[in-house]
């Protein structure tokens, strides 16, 4: 096993905007776990989610260029956002299968396409590279008693043979991480459903319907909170929760944590280092109740 | 300015080989060790087979250790004591031949003790054995080496191989040059090359893969390939030879080294290796394969050339 883990880091646009707490907690967590993280200089948008619906060459080229930039930094590429992760992996997949497209892209970005670099979601880094044993060793405040609904969303494992993160339809990687930090996970039905991220701005009605089903299912399964690994899922589940409660006349009050926030708590990071204040559904009462603050 | 190549580790390697050979022979683990010993000309080396522990001191490894000793395991094997394991000193390129021969049921791994040599390169056949190894005097095959450190050996001296220099890949360059020519120009090139051939069959004699008891080209009922050193027969011989080595030859380039007429024989072999790699993603010599690229198939193989 490698002793010192080192990664290049592609935060993606959301983490520099609406999901600042994800970025903050990721950096703090990695620092705490002594994992090297170097932000790719000069990175730019991966194009998710509109680009690939509009212009395939553009979407492939954006990712290919980012991959090329990342290749100049030592270590595998760590990605926080499920959509960025999906686009980068898809790009490698598509370009390794089509020589024609590869040549087009190479011409467009005026650089070679990097097909063999390892793009890794933060989950993979925690669950595989670091591993549950070493993660457990860093825990000083186990999240015992906290019942978490792990929400994968639609992009993290799909489609078959592209992300290769875990079993496509019944993954356990999030649960594996949470178990290592002492939390309880609930079995629930909607952990792989789509939250409608693509329609967040254009057709909020659809999003409210889809997101409500997810929150309803998590609540019904007895979860205290939801954990996500994607800023887009977070946007829908957290920011829209009040609105949904109003539309459906229900009361969920389910804090929606980022993966790095929960793991960060367990390894002893304080609320300020995890950006808990930025969450719309206030998690502090829950955490106090469970004795985690 | 020619770039010198660091071969200082060869001294440590020589020591290590001697110690290991001595130990093996003393313990009776092997009946003989095939290696290199110094020869008469200054700096030169020649193959040697030792069966006594005290002879271990004869063993050396130097830039003149050019021979592919795998040869002595097949055709010349009769000279080697048959009982028990045989130890052999192998460079990465030689090991590829041994790996190939295992896949062709000619050698058994358990009958060999492989003493692997980390190798920074050996001298070209045109260089004097006493000259130092430089970007100029290095054998062309070493410029394209991808097996400086032989894998899977029983023993490898614990030395740090200096980082290999980026050298001009001579065969690739020459293949690219020839491919760019017209068929007529290429024919003229090879016609001139093959015309030099004197049918001495040194290339066949030195090739670890030419292990047939009776060569197809020596048969006269029917005569498939003309055996006299006429241009027609020479051309046929070299085409048949390249075809028979396709998918098997891993590029030890011994054929080219021993050719008295300096025919670029390995060029044909490298061209075939390149094509088979492109067509079937096959590269000879890295693992013991039951089947090579031309003894198996995939239903989806390319057939764009077939009407």
């Amino acid at each position: 096993m490698k002793e010192k883990l080192n990664y290049s880091y592609y935060p993606g646009c959301s983490l520099h905007a609406s999901a600042g707490e994800y970025d903050l907690s990721t950096r703090e967590l990695f620092k705490k776990l002594k994992i090297g993280l170097t932000e790719v200089p000069d990175w730019f948008c991966c194009g998710a989610t509109p680009a690939h619906n509009v212009d395939e060459l553009l979407s492939l080229s954006l990712c290919a260029k980012n991959l090329e930039l990342a290749d100049k930094v030592e270590g595998d590429l760590a990605v926080a956002c499920a959509a960025c992760f999906s686009r980068l992996k898809t790009t490698q997949n598509v370009l390794s299968e089509s020589e024609v497209k590869r040549k087009q892209v190479e011409k467009a970005i005026d650089a070679p396409v990097i097909l063999d670099s390892h793009v890794k979601h933060l989950l993979e880094i925690l669950a595989r590279d670091l591993g549950p044993e070493r993660l457990a060793q860093s825990v000083n405040k186990p999240l015992s008693g906290l019942k978490v609904a792990c929400y994968y969303g639609c992009l993290l494992t799909r489609p078959t043979d592209v992300p290769n993160l875990d079993c496509v339809e019944a993954p356990t990687i999030m649960e594996d991480v949470l178990k290592a930090v002492g939390a309880e996970t609930v079995a629930w039905t909607h952990r792989m459903e789509c939250c409608g991220a693509n329609f967040t701005l254009s057709r909020p009605g659809v999003v409210i319907q889809l997101t409500n089903a997810i929150l309803d299912s998590a609540k019904a399964a007895g979860a205290d909170c939801v954990m996500v690994a994607c800023p887009l899922c977070h946007g829908n589940l957290d920011i829209r929760q009040k609105e949904i409660e109003g539309v459906y006349s229900v009361n969920y009050n389910l804090p929606v944590f980022y993966l790095t926030q929960l793991v960060g708590l367990a390894v002893g990071l304080g609320p300020d280092k995890l950006g808990l204040a930025a969450m719309m559904v206030n998690p502090l009462p829950l955490l106090k109740e469970k004795g985690l603050l | 300015m020619t770039q010198p190549i660091d071969t200082s580790i060869y001294i440590a390697i020589t020591e290590a080989i001697r110690d290991e050979a001595k130990r093996l022979l003393l313990e009776g683990q092997v009946s003989a060790v095939i290696g290199y010993a110094g020869a008469r000309r200054k700096g030169s080396a020649q193959p040697v087979i030792i069966s006594q522990a005290e002879d271990a001191a004869k063993l050396i490894f130097s830039p003149a250790s050019v021979n592919n000793l795998a040869l002595y395991l097949t055709k010349a094997k009769k000279e080697i004591p048959k009982n028990g394991k045989i130890g052999i000193v192998v460079k990465g390129c030689d090991l590829k031949a041994i790996v190939g021969l295992m896949g062709e049921s000619q050698l058994k791994r358990e009958e060999l003790y492989l003493i692997g040599v980390p190798c920074a390169g050996v001298l070209a056949s045109t260089a004097q054995p006493s000259t130092g190894l430089t970007a100029e005097t290095i054998a062309p095959k070493c410029t394209e080496c991808n097996a400086h450190l032989p894998a899977g050996c029983d023993y490898v001296p614990n030395v740090q191989l200096p980082a290999p220099l980026q050298l001009e890949e001579k065969y690739i360059a020459e293949i690219t040059r020839l491919e760019a020519l017209t068929p007529v120009e290429r024919w003229a090139y090879w016609k001139e090359q093959f015309a030099k051939c004197i049918k001495c069959y040194a290339c066949r004699q030195v090739c670890p893969f030419c292990f047939c008891e009776q060569c197809l080209c020596d048969r006269n009922k029917p005569q498939m390939v003309e055996s006299t050193p006429r241009p027609a027969g020479n051309t046929a011989w070299h085409i048949v030879r390249a075809m028979h080595l396709a998918g098997r030859c891993a590029g030890c380039a011994e054929c080219e080294r021993v050719c008295p007429m300096d025919i670029p024989l390995n060029l044909l072999n490298r061209k075939m290796a390149k094509e088979l790699k492109e067509l079937y993603a096959y590269e000879a010599g890295f693992e013991v394969n039951d089947k090579g690229p031309l003894s198996t198939f995939d239903e989806k193989d390319d057939q764009s050339f077939i009407k």
Partner: protein
Amino acid sequence: MHSEKQKHSFEPKIIAFVCTWCTYAGADLAGTSRMQYPSNVRVLKFPCTGRIDPVFILKAFQQGADGVLVSGCHPGDCHYIAGNFHARRRFAAFRKLLEFVGVDLNRLQFSWVSAAEGGKWVEVVTDLTEKVRAMGPMAEFKQLALEEQWSGTIGTPELKEAYNAI
């Protein structure tokens, strides 16, 4: 009934190596259907394309063939399960070798012709004949065959020196 046949200055020799189950039968069908094609082709029957040794192609060129056709069963149709698959790889490699030594691959044609494809047989044979006719005789091997003497040139200074010393 038929128009006067055009006279050509050069009639190429075409040798076809075919498998008995598909292409030979396809050529028979062309006959029973009374299709017409140039008379330049000579057919050698093999049980299977798997039996066809690359040396035969070489030998055919050396014996004065101007064009060579190798034809067998379509993939999956082989009477012997997989002979044509083995042949496909063997010839994919061999044609690359011939190309590299300077044989114009327009003289060497491979095809799959099934027992039902009499028309395709006619088309393949006619195309190859016309193509080779346009290219003219295969001079390379014929010239080699005529060269009786050792015709090497002494290329390197070392050789020249050695030669002068004799």
